[in-house]
Amino acid sequence: MISQFFVLSQRGDNIVFRDYRGEVSKGSAEIFFRKVKFWKEDGEEEAPPVFNVDSVNYFHVKVAGLLFVATTRGNVSPSLVLELLQRIARVIKDYLGVLNEDSLRKNFVLVYELLDEVIDFGYVQTTSTEVLKSYVFNEPIMVDAARLPSLGAAAIFMQGTKKMPGTAVTKSVVANEPGGRKREEIFVDIIEKISVTFSSSGYILTSEIDGTIQMKSYLTGNPEIRLALNEDLSIGRGGRSIYDYTSSAGGGSVMLDDCNFHESVHLDSFDIDRTLNLVPPDGEFTVMNYRMTQEFRPPFRINALIEEAGPLKAEVILKIRADFSSTITANTVFVQMPVPAYTTRVSFELEPGAVGNTTDFKEANKRLEWGLKKIVGGSEHTLRAKLTFSQESHANITREAGPVSMTFTIPMYNASRLQVRYLQIAKKSKTYNPYRWVRYVTQANSYVARI
């Protein structure tokens, strides 16, 4: 059971503070914040999500730059408390549309209302946005979403895809559109995070895709939904039978290592035709999480080279090749590479005609940084950097530099080829035809090339 729940701003101010059991002193928020801010234990730079100070256990998750914290004296299940904190953040976001310090401060009374119903005397009552609707009476005060830096998974759709109504995903589940009518729509997002490690010879050492299908429903009356995935989707390494195995070896099929599903998903026909049946609850939720270690084509190839170029000098050549269709554009690409600690100066040389590139040498942590606003599929980009050293390097210079790491976002692309074949909404009438948005996006989780 939980003793207290509070939300702190980045500066450590209490935005909401709810004491459920009166077992932990009111000064806990301050104790917590000090501990997190000045964390230094066992050489660790960052406080772990759970720690104990004077026999009080502190749990925290970071969401949208805010700290969601719970305290307890009991030996509780850590995954339960951490899931709960995450879920509370999501419920609040469902109500406020946008979750950030500003929206939370403007709506703190509403948030107290929610907190009263979510937890009673430390025990979870409900985290269902839908159930909570009947208990919550405050109207959310909207903050201007456009002005704010976008946060959260859905925010990545805001750039680059003109078709998407940008404000839709930041709409509260309870607020009405101007004119009093609610727009009937549903969003299905397939978000994949990919991790790849390339060896120094360009060979793939490890690769994994962690995907999630997220749904956000604004449909009234909660109609039933059918979500059909690839017919040849197989789950579990090696397949369930020999036949599965041979069909997957054919190359076309998608093979997941494992997956899990939201409470509301019925899997009755999943084994037969790979469709998910569900009655989507209000608000945002994860329909399915999946994990895949089957080989896939990495979207980017990285080629990195560091060579000595005379005394106290070296040259770095970084090459990025976009290995996907030219109809697709990756954005917010960012490449970093640590260089030898005795590097004092770096001069960069971009290809002639390069646009939207930024380069930087971060002196403090001895790192090259290369940002590219956009990369069109099929293209190749090169950066040359000349390094100047303060001392002669006697060791092998490649051991002193790298690895190269890369972050990016590629809208309307997914590396696993998992697809939503169709999204069927049970019809209430002939004219009922809600908007459906099925969107794909791929992001780098850990994309690393060793040199």
Binding site: D13, P48, L80, R105
Partner: protein, 600 residues
């Protein structure tokens, strides 16, 4: 409306201030208290919001108690809720004023709107004032029988609140048996779950003094009750499912067919997107099969994939909680995870507390077939910018070397670390080479050749310096300049701050002297003199001891300081297996994250 605490932003929340604002609020609330003018509720809302926002940032607004209560006569539910929140916060410190609220709360408990009844009952039970409990019993009793499930839900937890304020009134009113009846009969799953939560807490606390309570607590684990919960597990919310699973985890089935029934019933809970449900289910599986070795092992195989999915799908925080549990399982049965080692590779952007767990897992699962790849991977981390991870990685390589038979290649890698010429890498490696030599004396030749090249000036960390000095003493016959290096170290005795290093230096010089007397005599004399004058008691005592030993009989000294050594076969584990078992018993709790036994 001013957003809460905007004006206080720069201040620390712990510093109450704003006295002026509070008295302003008092005046304004007074004006509104009796007013029936249109728009009054809106103005009240604004004022109440201000009060709550002050309360949130830690300003003491308890002086407004009577005004708040006066303003609470309203049908506006938002206002009511704010008022309840306020009252709940300050009643404990102002028991006399709290009495003022009893009247309107009791009235609200009889309201025709179930929402109001529920809210009022919840607030009434949250006052935490002992001399008001007499007003609680009546509304709680009718709350438990309310036809609306929301009110019953609130009442069930309300009983627990009452118990914490005054256990005797709760027991005297016979509420526990009312809860038990409700738990076994109520159609609403959340009411049932709340009854279970409340009863578990009450009976656990009562059990020490009342035999009946401890019998009742046992009865919760009886077959009919467990099956009653299991059969309707899907009616419960995901959180209540965790509660039920926790209960089932304590149940002892009568035979193995029962065990399989329960596992089959709960099998699909392993596919739940909520990690808390999955971990609670895993605990049930692990505990049920503890005595069935084969099935227990199958359970490990079965839960591997869901655990790995949770590690990679949720937020970073949740991933850490799950990974800690996976870590526990890997440490218990490393063989079962030896082919999954790639999942434990570190990613560059992971926080160091995650990397540390992964390094330990990699070390544990290393066996003959995967060692090469694991060690290669670990060597990559040694160049990591994060110094503590680089150190841990070296440590991991060393540990793998200590647990393997074929250490040939690993020793080579360790020796390569020494050539990297990074101080912390050298330091960490030296300590490991020393341990390796204690286990594999046959490697001394290769190691000494490399260690001999290290300048003692580049080694500053006490542990590493002590390791180097130990090797100089132990292998003084193999290192031609050992006496001279030791001599120069003795010359700098005064600058050596670590007593540990000085102790090692004394021993090493003596060892060296016994093997190469003419070359070391001078250093020994200097070391003993410095040791005798040392302000550290242990150093002084050891020097004196050596001095007298040498005076008495050199060959005895030889036997004491340089006895023939046996290779160490196994280094003592830091954690006893008993503690590990007890942590395992507390699977899905903080004990696993802290790696300490917490419960009694």
């Amino acid at each position: 409306m001013a957003p809460p605490a905007q004006s206080q932003r720069s201040q620390s929340p712990s510093q109450p201030s704003g006295k002026g604002e509070v008295s302003d609020l008092k005046v304004q609330l007074r004006q509104l208290a009796g007013s029936r003018a249109p728009g009054t509720d809106d103005s009240k809302r604004e004022l109440f919001k201000k009060v709550i926002s002050y309360m949130t940032v830690g300003i003491d607004v308890s002086s407004l108690f009577s005004e708040m209560v006066m303003c609470s006569a309203t049908s506006d539910i938002v206002l009511k809720k704010m008022c309840y929140l306020y009252v709940g916060n300050y009643a404990k410190g102002n028991p006399d004023l709290a009495l003022l609220t009893i009247n309107f709360l009791q009235k609200d408990c009889r309201d025709e709107d179930p929402m109001i009844r529920g809210l009022a009952l919840r607030s009434l039970c949250s006052l935490r004032v002992e001399n008001l409990v007499e007003y609680l019993v009546g509304p709680l009793g009718s709350g438990l029988q309310d036809h609306n499930s929301y009110v019953r839900m609130v009442a069930a937890i309300g009983v627990l609140k009452l118990y914490h304020i005054s256990s005797s009134s709760c027991i005297d009113a016979d509420f526990p048996s009312a809860l038990k009846a409700l738990m076994l009969n109520d159609p609403d799953a959340q009411v049932v779950a709340n009854c279970l939560s409340a009863l578990q807490e009450i009976w656990s606390l009562e059990a020490s003094t009342s035999e009946e309570a401890s019998r009742e607590r046992e009865a919760l684990l009886s077959k009919p009750v467990i099956y009653y919960f299991l059969n309707r597990i899907k009616d419960f919310s995901e959180w209540a499912q965790c509660l039920v699973l926790d209960l089932v985890g304590k149940y002892v089935p009568s035979d193995s067919s029962e065990i399989f029934d329960i596992m089959n019933l709960l099998e699909d809970r392993l596919q739940h997107a909520n990690g808390a449900v999955v971990l609670a289910t895993i605990k049930v599986f692990l505990h049920l099969t503890l005595s069935m070795t084969d099935v227990h092992q199958q359970v490990y195989e079965r839960i591997k994939a869901p655990l790995l999915t949770l590690v990679s799908s949720g937020s970073q925080e949740l991933s850490y909680a799950v990974l800690s549990h996976l870590h526990l399982l890997v440490m218990r049965a490393p063989i079962l995870f030896s082919s999954d080692y790639k999942h434990f590779y570190c990613q560059y952007n992971e926080p160091s507390y995650v990397k540390k767990l992964k390094l330990e897992m990699l070390t544990a699962v290393a066996n003959e077939s995967n060692t090469y790849e694991i060690v290669t991977e670990l060597c990559e981390y040694v160049a990591n910018i994060d110094v503590s991870i680089a150190r841990e990685s070296i440590h991991a390589v060393g540990k793998i070397a200590l647990q393997q038979y074929d250490v040939n290649a690993i020793v080579d890698r360790l020796l390569q670390f020494l050539e990297m010429e990074k101080d912390y890498v050298t330091a960490e490696t030296l300590v490991l080479v020393k341990d390796l030599l204690r286990k594999y004396p046959q490697w001394s030749h290769d190691c000494i050749a490399v260690v001999g090249n290290i300048s003692s000036k580049n080694v500053q960390e006490p542990k590493a310096k002590a390791a180097l000095i130990w090797m100089l003493g132990e292998y003084s016959l193999d290192m031609s300049d050992a006496p001279y290096i030791l001599e120069s170290l003795v010359e700098n005795w005064e600058d050596e701050h670590s007593a540990e290093v000085r102790l090692h230096l004394l021993t090493a010089v003596l060892k060296c002297f016994l093997r190469r007397p003419p070359e070391t005599q001078k250093a020994l004399g200097a070391a003993l003199a410095a040791g005798l004058a040392d302000s550290h008691q242990d150093v002084h005592d050891r020097a004196l001891f050596y001095y007298r030993l040498l005076q008495y009989n050199v060959s005895v000294a030889e036997r004491v300081v340089n006895p023939p050594k046996q290779a160490v076969s196994v280094f003592a584990d830091t954690q006893s297996s008993e503690i590990k078992d007890r942590i395992f018993d507390e699977f899905n709790s903080l004990s696993v994250l802290y790696q300490k036994v917490l419960s009694l």
